[in-house]
Amino acid sequence: MKPKTTTTGLASVLALIAGMGAAQAQGDLVIGMQLEPPHLDPTSAAAGAIDQVTYANIFEGLTRFGPDGSVNPGLAESWDISDDGRIYTFHLHEGVTFHDGTALDAGDVKFSLDRARGEDSTNAQKGLFAGIETVEVVDPLTVRVTLAQPDGSFLFNMAWGDAVIVAPESVDQLKTNPVGTGAFRFADWAQGDRIDIVRNEDYWGTPAGLESATFKFISDPTAAFAAMMAEDIDAFSGFPAPENLPQFDADPRFKVLVGSTEGETILSTNNAQPPFDDVKVRKAMAHAIDRQAIIDGAMFGYGTPIGTHFAPHHPDYVDLTGQSAHDPELARSLLAEAGYPDGFTTTLKLPPPSYARRGGEIIAAQLREVGIETEITNLEWAQWLEQVFRGKDFGLTIVSHTEPMDIGIYADPDYYFQYDNPAFTELMTDLQGESEPEARSEMLRKAQRIIAEDYVNGYLFQLASLSVAKTGVQGLWKNAPTQAIDLTGVSWAD
């Protein structure tokens, strides 16, 4: 009797151990991410984690971003733009249904857009919808959107996760039980642990390659490394421990995906606060900074140097890094010229991400080289938003601006870094009214040069998108043109 018990016990332990490793049926994918979404309604919060889980997987908009950042048709299969650029007529796909079985029609589009721009809207990007004058239902599959003024970036704006189409029937439960039109439907959420989604068998487009997927929330970098190494998870999007990437790269079980994000990481400078109101001081700081040292020291070599507020992978990007090359000698003489031969002291307020905390120490040392002393304060995001972003109580801060195509923030003199240049504001107004691609490109290039020449902020690097996956996982996005983990094209290699 006794030996039998032992054998059974041992067998069950072995089965348990084996079960851990073989849990991944090939139609399933477990993907790690660092932050858990607070809820699952992308139309009423800014948290990037919401988009990571829901964008394209659960919810879709009229247009959508491709892996390269291009704007492609989404729920609208085509559109016509009136000659004056004000009226967009969207033609919706036929036969699209929401996960609860109700059909998508023009009324849902009108409802979604009106809800986002309505008076009691809690949309975090309400500005995207500000130009809309009216939304009209022409017939069940046609919607006409009239803008107050022509807006060259309207189709781009409609691709954001904040502009997805939702149905009035299910809108009240989106936060906990999201109902969209995407290739996956929401299945389960074990708060603090994971979210499960399953393939939508009634999907209108190309069906997903995976039967199901699990988003697993692992915030600690060491734990992320361990979970990947132990093969508890199949992939990790936005891997938080760049120092471990070479180890994964060298391991045949894994592959490392290094791409670009829309995050311009900048030494944000309070342009309204002396001495930063003097362009010579800002120029001196720009030359005091050694970008490569920051990328190597804070990001373990991952990141592309930038010389202006624009993504290097964008076709209209101009490389202006030479204009603020590392030159401490020049920096010191510029400071002397500006009346600060002995430098000055200012504040450097750092939000939690490691690019800021690690980068901040390095920048402080580089600024000290030329005589600028910084008092470093570490802030939580909530404090950073209150003190720096809203209160404008700072000298310097380091932050990554992750919104795509956000050079327009320099047109607002009230924005937290308080850059006030009427010529730039005018250029942005003109850009908005321009829909001719060639002219738009020219304007965007000009805009990059203006802010680089004014040394508005210290332009450091474009944040890299770092992912690790098992070798067999294919179709994961390398770049992150928006904060999405689009699993619709992901599958396992045979």
Partner: protein, 315 residues
Amino acid sequence: MLRYMVKKLLSLAVSLVVASAVIFLALEVVPGDPAANMLGINAQEETLAALREELGLDRGPVARYADWVGGMLVGDFGTSYTYRTPVSEMIADRVVVSLPLALYALALSTLVAIPAGIWAAARRGSGVDLGVMGLTQLGVAIPNFWFAMLMVLIFAINLRWFSAGGFAGWDAGVGPAMHSLTLPAVALALPQAAILTRVMRSALLDTLGEDFIRTARAKGLTRGQTLWRHALRNALIPVLTIIGLQFSFLIAGAIIIENVFFLPGLGRLVFQAISARDLIVVESVVMLLVFAVIMVNFVVDLTYAAVDPRLRRSR
């Protein structure tokens, strides 16, 4: 006994009232607006106002405090700002991880520490005593998160006996669930066991030096008999105190271990809620933890009385 209990209950109630006021005030002065935090940097002023109204943040602190305490008295912990689900449900989801983990760790540490402490005390000055004391020194000195990482490296990454973290869930069965709590429980138990062993040993040695032990020995009892019948019972009071404190610590203090093993427990909930400025969740969970700690102390007080009859009569 009744007077003793009434007195303890009264102090329990006062502690709870004071704690609720302190928690609420502390979170009132923490900088950071929950609405601004949720809507991010592109939010417009009117959108923020709409959200504040929706969350009830536009009302004064006194009204919100009254609501919160009033709700808790009838078992309503409010609704989370960010998750938008009832806080009581969220707590219930997390307690089923944190409580078993704490009990598991406590069981491990007690099962190891009490025999080890008795053994070391009984063989005072011997090689056993030195060995046990050396190990406890090490157990106290090693930070438990580091020990946790080491165990993950050995048992999850190299040997693959356990997963590196996460919780299988009770739906998967008791076996897999306990399996996924094992490494965290061992990591939590290590320093506790070390401390408890030392307390057990020294308490027992103190008692063994008392007059009544000499009397018992003089009456002809063997060393072993005096130890088991007389000394152990008297040495248990300080040990119980420590176990009570440790249990409170294990429930409330597992934040780091929960992060290392990415377990969806109470500690991680508080951690997330603080950075998201989900004040109602922080307030309610902290209040619950305070309640748990006070209750554990209350139970420990009652156990003293059970172990030591003098306490029942004199106070």
